[in-house]
């Protein structure tokens, strides 16, 4: 069975590293994997998305329409924007920390209210202020790793493999902080 994952967030949130880490775990689990990184402007606060497909044999790196099993929403508005990529049975793992986009900053539009509630009407959702939780552990940079933990819990890849993938992909001084964040996400039910 192919597992399709979509990651959505804001430029600068570390989407590429998160994608790489998940791909690495798949390779370690002896599965085929293909991913898309951002192909546009990556670092300048625009919307960004990536996708990962994991399974016995993957042809296209693109997740088909409404074909995602899991959506990692690194930011609520981006979670809302990419909800349409989910299957009806899809699950959302969301960082609730808000990054206002330009129309909101310029007071032309309101930031949508209660995104978590809206998504919960249609999908199973696990949400956490991962930026704040990361801050507590020592850096907001580990925020995405909480969501990777939640994802890992829902996938058929051994926890140790994920730990190894983290160790191989994040800077040395952030390894223990990331493992901690991963475990918190993994054990959240």
């Amino acid at each position: 069975m192919t597992v399709n994952i979509v990651i959505a967030g804001v430029g600068g949130q570390g989407l590429v590293l998160t994608t790489k880490l998940i791909c690495d775990a798949a390779l370690r689990a002896n599965l085929d994997v293909k991913s898309n990184d951002v192909i546009g402007l990556s670092q300048r606060g625009g919307k960004v998305w990536g996708s990962i497909r994991i399974g016995p044999e993957i042809y296209s790196p693109n997740v088909p329409p409404k074909g995602a099993d899991f959506l990692l929403a690194l930011e609520p508005l981006e979670g809302l924007r990419y909800r349409s990529s989910l299957k009806d049975t899809g699950k959302v793992f969301m960082n609730t920390s808000i990054i206002p986009p330009v129309p909101v900053i310029m007071e032309k539009e309101e930031y949508p209210e209660n995104i978590e509630g809206i998504l919960a009407l249609d999908f199973e959702i696990m949400a956490l202020d991962a930026s704040e939780e990361g801050h507590k552990l020592g850096s907001t940079k580990v925020a995405n790793t909480f969501l990777v933990g939640m994802l890992a819990k829902n996938m058929n890849i051994d926890k140790n493999i994920w730990h190894d993938a983290i160790k191989a992909n994040v800077p040395k001084k952030f390894i223990s902080m990331n493992i901690e964040a991963f475990d918190i996400g993994y054990d959240m039910v």
């Binding site: 898309n36 329409p65 508005l77 990419y82 986009p101 330009v102 007071e107």
Partner: protein, 609 residues
Amino acid sequence: MEHLSSKGDVVMDNKTIMSGNQAVGRGFYEAGGRVASSYPGSPTVGILQSIKDNYKDIYSEFSVNEKVALEVGIGASFAGARVLVSMKHVGMNIAADPLMTFTQTKINGGFVLTTGDDPGMSSSQNEQDNRILGKFAHMAVLDPGNSQESLDYTKLAFDLSEKYIMPTMIRITSRVCHSRSIVELSDRVEKEVSGFPNKPEDFAMIPPNTLKKQFTMADRIDKLTVAANDMDINIYEPSPAMRTDVLVVTSGLMYYNYKELGLDYSVFKLGMVYPLPIKKLHQLAKKYKRIIVIEEMMPFIENELKMHGVHCEGKNFFSITGELNTEDIELGLVNAKILKEHTYPIEKPEETVARLPMFCSGCPHRPVFDILKKAKADVIGDIGCYSLAFLDPLNAVNSIISMGASIGIMKGMSKALKSAEKSKPLACVVGDGTFFHSGMTGMLNMLHQMDESENMTVLILNNGTTAMTGGQATSTTKSYSDAGDVDANIPELLHSMGFDRIKTVDQFDYKNAKKVIDEELKHDGFSIVMTTRPCALNFKIKETPFYVDQNICIGCRSCVKTNCPPILMKEYDGHDKLKSSINKDSCVGCSVCAQVCPVGAIKRIEEEA
């Protein structure tokens, strides 16, 4: 077996995960490559970057522009080394001059040109299909569809280049460049550098030497057309159900996107999209009722087939623009009446608040465009991060064409307006990377028939960085850090060209910068302003963040209008009106907002006590 590569990427049983870009770099390394050159541009910037990061034995450089990169490659090939030159699709336009003549030579060391097409234009100003330029230059064009193919085709391209004595093109697309998949690694094969054979008849390209070469080039394409029939990368997959109604002809990622549909038609997957295996396709065409070509952008394969009398269909059913994802291919097959119905759900994009990119926190472009907007200047834009100034809420540039073009465009506009007695003040903005790439010539050209009564202002936004592509060095980087190795002085350079009104300003000294820029915009004549603050991404600002004193803030939004990520209007207890706020986690302390605040409400956090 698990070990780590030099960059820390995991390698298991000789397998690792690479992007298409990294895989091209790896292929070059394994092929015994010696010299690699490029100019940074999306989607291919990662090729040379990964060579720089991983393979220290290879000489690599980000050249000043693509034309120079290609020329460096030509020299290395002449000397007998295997060479990789990489660039984004539009880079080939400027490199086309040396390429079109180089392709006539005897090349010597294997020469591979990798060009990144951008179907859908996720990071480009146009969508040109470079397969046509490959054909134009009498080159074989290979089209990889995943990372393993990117690696393998790169190696093959060197063999083809040396066997058929021609530069060879790898045409890769944004999606393949940035998609990761598993690749199997091999060892590097060392290739000797044979030295430059002193044979002007093969390398000095003027008549009569070039006369014979026209036939040589035609001949190599003829030979390749024959060889293509037996190439391993051109693969015929007969229908498992023995169907003879449809033969799908496709290449690259389109093959994999098509395969997702799980259909049982026969498929011909082209690894080489120019020249085509015409004989084989002719023979196959006789067996099938319909030939359907699936390709992104222009009908290149389709037209080649038609030109050779193979009846086929393609762009009647598939879009001429954008990416063709699996669902688009299915829809095309429905339109072609090959499939009965579209089975993929229609994914309706969620209609919610848009999120377009904006200048980073502490970006040195912010105060410049705030000043230009307030001055209501007519600003011609150029290629770089500052092109984002055309977006809301800045709306501060009126046109964008190609690298360095703003300078020539401003001159032409000024001359035309003057001829109709409609002169008005004009300005253009150009970054340092863009200035060195293609702006210097436009500057010198300004001096020809210079009319001192025409009000033109060139703003050179020197941030010491090729920022848009991820922070590669430019020819001024060394004046900011040790990362660069060239310390060109732009004002001195312009001065020696013959310009004398050149002002240099620190745009984080907002008041003075505004005074100088306003003066120069008003100056009746030609003037140049260079700003000096470096890129905030590459040269991180780590100053104490600012906060808004809610009791002083009058809610005027002067700070908000600079459009900085941490600044947002919010409600404060005890105040009816919204007041500004600053998110201290994303504020880097550049101080621009504090300087535009008319009442001094924005202060550094340490001043709070």
